[in-house]
């Protein structure tokens, strides 16, 4: 009850700003453009090249194509929409009105996560809906249930990113700290998480004077286990668990640690842990 009220008010506040409209236009254009681009590429890849690619273990479908764009845009917009969620209200004093009413700090934290996720989810779902019409118009072969699954999975990804950033915002005492924290999180999750294992792996081959495997599929298991722990990879892995399998690299998934459904577990951990830590700090804070 209290949670729903806080979430509703948060969404109401945002929907009165231009953010919701800007994001709606952005996602309608982005997803529609990606569907259009896919229809163009599909034609190019239909011939010998596609067969050659498939032989190297590379398969291709609409969802892997879309995911490349959605991950980047959703992580970035989640950051912009959420980084001030708690820290900004503390700094301005809005939180005194919110917590002056019978809401717990947990209600406020979770209400913010839901409210900000809605601010992101509405434009994203609108974008998917418009892009579906575009797909039909262009004659792209789309299974509607799969497409809907992918849209929902993308909303889950948005929820995870929002909860990470709101968690950081709850840990911060000032908006400056919140900004620094959110940017750091973005750099770590979106850049370093892939970069560090890759550099480590290449460094290992270089130092031990071995040649790089011809196919990335032959990289050691730990490399994939580690990189799959980032939320964006987890989203891609989870996608493979529920939608027609497609990956840029086809790896041996007989190992337990490389099961695709673990992507959902990893997303769940990213959903919960930042909020637990954020709540622990926020609950102890003097406002």
């Amino acid at each position: 009850m209290s949670l729903a009220l806080v979430a509703k008010k948060d969404f109401q506040d945002a929907s009165r700003s231009r953010v919701l409209w800007i994001l709606s236009v952005l996602y309608v254009l982005l997803i529609s453009a990606m569907v259009w681009a896919f229809s163009a590429f599909e034609g190019l890849l239909a011939g010998d090249e596609a067969a050659a690619a498939a032989q190297q273990g590379v398969s291709f479908n609409l969802y892997i194509f879309l995911a490349g764009a959605t991950t980047l845009f959703i992580s970035a917009t989640a950051l912009v929409v959420s980084y001030k969620a708690i820290a900004g209200e503390r700094e301005s004093g809005q939180i005194k009105l919110l917590l002056g009413l019978p809401h717990s700090r947990l209600d406020v934290l979770l209400g913010k996560v839901l409210g900000r996720t809605a601010v992101l989810a509405v434009p994203v779902l609108l974008g998917f809906a418009v892009a579906l019409v575009v797909a039909f118009a262009l004659g792209v072969n789309v299974v509607v249930t799969e497409y809907a699954f992918f849209a929902l999975l993308t909303v889950l990804y948005a929820l995870v990113y929002v909860s990470i950033v709101v968690g950081v915002s709850a840990m911060a005492n000032t908006t400056t700290q919140a900004t620094a924290g959110a940017i750091s999180v973005f750099v770590v999750l979106e850049v370093l998480w892939d970069l560090v294992p890759t550099v480590t792996l290449f460094g290992y081959y270089y130092v031990t004077d071995q040649s790089l495997p011809v196919s990335p599929a032959e990289y050691p298991e730990w490399y994939y286990v580690v990189t799959r722990l980032a939320p964006t990879s987890a989203y891609n892995v989870a996608r493979n668990a529920v939608l027609p399998k497609s990956a840029s690299v086809s790896i041996d998934s007989s190992s337990f640690l490389l099961q695709d459904w673990l992507g959902f577990v990893v997303l769940g951990v990213w959903l919960v842990v930042p909020l637990v830590v954020g709540y622990w700090r926020f609950d102890a804070a003097d406002l």
């Binding site: 209290s2 009220l5 008010k9 109401q12 506040d13 009165r16 700003s17 301005s92 004093g93 809005q94 005194k96 009105l97 917590l99 002056g100 009413l101 019978p102 809401h103 717990s104 102890a284 003097d286 406002l287």
Partner: protein, 303 residues
């Protein structure tokens, strides 16, 4: 049961001691004025009562409940006008009040509350465009939602013009008549004097006095200033008679008007002295030592 009870509450922020073993009780149904200069610790005390800030040591209860253990239960029965708040700029006044009503599961009509604070005509405007005074009225309307048992008002007259301050006092009286307790802080003495049953004076995190305003005035060394106008300028006899009255400290003459500083209730004795010396008293007035003097006396002595 006490509406508010603080027991040896201490709050330190890093090296700064904001409250030093503060103990205080506010009874149910009274208007308690919490007085002190800026930085004395008034807002910190209020923040502790609402669980915005946790005490370093000591304990407190609000309506018999511990705000740290049951913050929501406390806030369900308390109406709050906090210090240093900020409204949601993009939401309207009506939406703010509706949110407060919904949060307290009340059944008030938001327009009735907005009418009480006299901003009903701005109900559907975004609160971001309100003046400081209108914003203060809006947050007061939010505090009144759900008929709270206790109103906690931090510097309620901030941003209000004199008419607004008077309306604020009227609302405080209405709420007390309804049965609520009102705890409000101020650094403006006239506000406290006009409406409070009892006053606590806070200085540098310590309570230096708690009493009714009358008793506080008696307890201080201050007295009265008596202004007397006679039909003719007084002669030396009359002056000597007036000066000899017990309690009179000083007599200044300006034509037929005399300004007399005195201690205690000696007004009638002074007037009698003039009349028996053959003068006619045309007019007289008394002025009590201002609360401001009193307040300065308390806060400076301890400073």
């Amino acid at each position: 049961m006490a509406a508010i009870k603080l027991d040896d509450v201490t709050k330190r922020f890093d090296e700064v001691t904001a409250l030093d073993e503060l103990s205080m009780t506010v009874e149910e149904g009274e208007v308690f004025g919490f007085l002190g200069p800026n930085g004395a610790g008034k807002s910190t005390t209020i923040d502790i009562l609402l669980d915005f800030v946790r005490p370093t040591s000591g304990s407190c209860t609000v309506l018999g409940m511990d705000p740290q253990r049951q913050p929501e239960a406390v806030r369900r029965r308390v109406g709050i006008l906090p210090d240093g708040y900020h409204v949601y700029d993009r939401l309207t006044g009506r939406q703010h009040v509706q949110f407060a009503i919904d949060s307290k599961a009340g059944d008030d009509d938001p327009m009735t509350l907005l009418e009480r604070v006299d901003i009903a005509d701005a109900a559907d405007r975004k609160a971001g465009g309100y003046s400081k005074g209108m914003t203060q009225r809006l947050v007061l309307a939010m505090a009144l939602a759900g008929e709270p048992d206790l109103l906690v008002l931090d510097e309620p007259t901030t941003g209000l013009d004199p008419a607004g301050a008077r309306e604020m006092r009227e609302i405080i009286r209405e709420e007390v008549d309804r049965g609520a307790t009102v705890f409000f802080s101020s650094h403006i003495l006239e506000q406290v004097e006009a409406v409070a049953d009892r006053v606590g004076i806070l200085s540098e995190g310590e309570l230096v006095a708690v009493d009714t305003i009358d008793n506080l005035r008696d307890a201080t060394a201050g007295g009265e200033t008596l202004t007397v106008t006679l039909s003719t300028p007084p002669d030396d006899n009359a002056l000597a008679a007036a000066e000899s009255v017990d309690g009179v400290q000083d007599v200044a003459v300006d034509g037929a008007t005399l300004t007399i500083s005195c201690q205690g209730n000696v007004k009638m004795d002074v007037l009698d002295a003039f009349e028996s010396a053959g003068h006619e008293v045309v007019d007289f007035s008394t002025e009590e030592t201002s609360l401001e003097d009193l307040f300065m006396q308390y806060t400076e002595v301890s400073a």
